[in-house]
Amino acid sequence: MHIRTLPKKVYSGLVILIGLYIFASFFTPVNQETLDAYNISSTQLRLITLPALLIVSGIWAATAYGFTHFKQYALIIKDSPDGKGINTLANGLGLVALQLVTTGIFSSVTAIKTVEDGLGGPGSILVISTILGLVLNLAAFYVLKKGAGQLVKLLKKPRPQTVIWLLLLGAISVFYLYLIEIGYPFPSATDSVYHHISLSAALLLVGLGNIICWYLALSAAFNLWYYQNHVQGIIYKSALRLLARGMYVIVGCSIIIQLLSTLNNSLEDLSLAPLLFVLYVLIAAIGLGFVFIAQSAKKLRKIEEL
């Protein structure tokens, strides 16, 4: 990958994906069941979804902007000792962005009736979507953890103590698995993935998969916090602080989104509008996290350009 051609590749890819997203959402037949459920016309539905489409496209643009700037910085310093860790972090952020875009397009494309039927109906789509999101999140957080770990190694200091937050994560994980176990098979929550899979799959695939994701994500954030606190350099640190802040926002919001999407059965008493609002706020916050990362990369890059 070359530093000069990177923005062109990323932004042209983004334009294609946004085009696909808008086409799938706007120019394909609307699911009649959705229209009947909300008692609205297809034009009304499209007008309702337009602001959401624009917001999501803007968020994707922010993630592409943040990733491009950070990857460019990573490419500039790739042969330096800290270059390896920074480049791995950049790849992890790229996977987070990819996860966001892929799951967005998947939900948009599978809303088309023929695609929905072709994939075996809403239940199958929910299972595929959950597994797709989980696999991409696992890959992204694994790479981010690896990158942050590579940076911590450069400090030549004792590894950070993680016992307290590991115990906390353990307690939350047990409670989370317990909620799945007692709620199974969630008879009234047809929009929950647990309704469509066996108990062992719910616990081992979705439950354990999410817990591993949270462990990797928190580990990445913790290692980056440790590196940012212990690395030398007043000016370097201030630039890195924005990167760490962006990472915390991305990791935190991704975890909450995962939690909301898997525990939506417990939130079924809430109406759809506030839930969607919270979801969009969280996705927008991820976009903001990428803007922080772009700002950090710009500052770090300035050091390399003088």
Partner: protein, 84 residues
């Protein structure tokens, strides 16, 4: 062949800069020496220090608006130059 780390003066400049630019220090100093002194980093001598310190002050001032940080850096470089 001599390497930059064999040059004590160069190593000291990098070490001072590390308090400000951390892991980016060596790359930063190498570029400043090559661009403004027209030498390889291992060729840095005491006679180059005044000119280098002036360029470093300008460069650091472009990276931070904190005057105290710029002054601290300049003072550390001045002390290093006067001991050589």
């Amino acid at each position: 062949m001599a390497t930059a780390t064999d040059n004590q003066l160069y190593s000291n400049v990098v070490q001072i800069t590390q308090s400000f630019l951390g892991p980016a220090s060596q790359r930063f100093i190498d570029r400043q020496i090559k661009t403004h002194i027209n030498k390889e980093p291992y060729e840095l001598s005491a006679g180059d220090m005044q000119k280098l310190a002036e360029w470093l002050k300008v460069a650091i001032a472009l990276l931070t608006e904190d005057e105290k940080t710029v002054n601290n850096y300049t003072e550390s470089l001045r002390k290093l130059g006067s001991t050589k």
